[in-house]
Amino acid sequence: MSDPVVVCEGLTHVYLRGTPFESVALRGVDLVVRRGECLGLVGPTGSGKSTLVQHFNGLLRPTEGRVWVDGVEIRPGTAVVREVRRKVGLLFQYPEHQLFEATVFEDVAFGPRNLGLDPEEVQERVRESLEWVGLDPDRFGPRSPFSLSGGEMRRVAIAGVLAMRPQVLVLDEPTAGLDPEGRREILSRVRDLHRKAALTVVLISHSMDDVARLCQRVVVLHRGQVFLDAPVREAFAQSDRLRSIGLDVPRVTDVLLRLKAAGLPVRCDRLTVEEACEEIVRVLQGNRRWSSSEA
């Protein structure tokens, strides 16, 4: 559970260095992604989240600092970078905009074909990936990706990354712009991939509810620096710090915080609705027992 897959050390990235448009996106970020965990990466817009994850598979090179993936340092050199791109699957924001083939099958097959696999292997991987994202390969395979709904297109794009069989799956706001049904579908697929396929997942999200539901650990970026790196419960207990940089806490935490502010002595580090219910019941029962013994 605990050996590191991705390690960043003193990672600094400067865009357009040496021009009037120079901007520092990351300053000295130290970060470890452990094998098998689901890590939530949050932060206000422009805090460097997307820049950071593009270092995980060598799409961007550090201006300063070093990055290791699976024990190998990413250095310029095609062999290493190619290997890293296979190990770390990166799904960009609005990934449905990258679809280009005539059929869903062909589009998902793009990745495995680039790996130089034989046709049977490609076929097998495409079917497997489409099944993972809940699309029937026989029904959806021959259709044009441009005839699908937004949520379905996005799942095809995720399948396209899964077909590379990565060890680490990085998702940059996978639910942005989807309807509630589409969101739920994507999130439950990601949860399955994490739990059943034992994939390491890095989830960038603006929804603290999603992070609370899926992740074990949260890293908060703020102005290109690590602002907070803690297990989910500890992180969301620091609601004041999070709110001070324009972030929020999950709705469940928010309800508990308000109850506490209203005088009910609940613990606020509960993350799911069920946990919160139990906690409230526990406190209320305790109260009744206490007040009945009083009477």
Binding site: Y15, Q54, Q98
Partner: protein, 270 residues
């Protein structure tokens, strides 16, 4: 991977300099005059005066000099080619021979001529890029439209041209960004963009061009709807929020440009 990096030519650099504050029409006209003058200058003295004037304008514009020079990077090959061609073929026959390379003869006159033409090209590029460095695309289009307005009677669609130019310029960075994003997304799926022969490379562009076209059409559609939703019906009867008005500084700038031009032509003219 940073495509934007090499695209400094034609890029606006926001500053609050005296050059930036000039009326765009003044700057467009001045640039036109300078382009003519740089071709009328006959010797190095003229170009020297021109270069001194241009250097002064660059300093005044507060655009970093390194940034201005970087704009020459995309055309360095053209400059080199010009120089080489001029060195070997530019001098009149019978000039002082510097060295021979088989049938090729480099003459002293050719070398001088080559340097002269190259310097002229550099000055031309720098003076036109100073216009785009100091004038935002919107101002530029506005100025063009006003300058072309008198020709409307001759059937020049001034407003439509300016609007097309504004939109095109506005979407260059967006499309560059989009291209970069799509390239990265396909590279993340193992696409190999820069190895293999020409055919292989051309085929590797398909996964980038198809999504790029799809998104460009989508954007064009959205923009058209957004413009119509805000009541756009073409240039007829359209008023503008920022009225262009010549001020005293435009007169002064005009005088300085004319003065410099006279000086260039007088010091080395015909």
């Amino acid at each position: 991977m940073e495509l934007l990096r090499s695209l400094t030519i034609g890029q606006y650099v926001p500053r609050a300099s005296p050059v930036h504050r000039l009326d765009p029409r003044t700057k467009i006209l001045a640039t036109t005059v300078l382009m003519v003058v740089v071709f009328l200058a006959r010797d190095f003295r003229g170009l020297g005066v021109f270069a001194a004037f241009l250097a002064g304008a660059v300093v005044l514009s507060q655009v970093p000099a390194g940034f201005v020079l970087r704009g020459l990077r995309p055309i360095w090959f053209l400059l080199l080619l010009t120089l080489v061609l001029q060195v070997f073929f530019g001098g009149a026959s019978g000039g002082t021979v510097l060295w021979r390379l088989g049938p090729l003869v480099a003459t002293r006159e050719g070398l001088v001529q080559g340097l002269f033409v190259t310097a002229r090209l550099v000055l031309l590029v720098v003076s036109t890029s100073l216009l785009t460095f100091t004038t935002s695309p919107v101002e530029l289009a506005d100025g063009m439209e006003r300058l072309l307005n008198p020709f409307r009677r001759l059937g020049v669609p001034a407003h439509e041209l300016a609007m097309m130019m504004t939109i095109a310029l506005r979407f260059i960075p967006t499309l560059v960004e989009e291209t970069e994003k799509i390239m990265k997304a396909q590279m993340a799926r193992g696409a190999d963009l820069d190895t293999g022969g020409p055919l292989r490379r051309a085929r590797a562009l398909v996964p980038i061009l198809v999504p790029l076209f799809v998104s460009a059409f989508r954007r064009a559609d959205e923009l058209a709807v957004a413009m119509e939703a805000r009541g756009y019906r073409g240039g007829e009867g359209r008023t503008r929020m920022k009225q262009l008005r010549y001020r005293a500084r435009d007169l002064w700038a005009g005088l300085v440009v004319v003065g410099a031009s006279v000086l260039v032509l007088w010091s080395g003219g015909p």
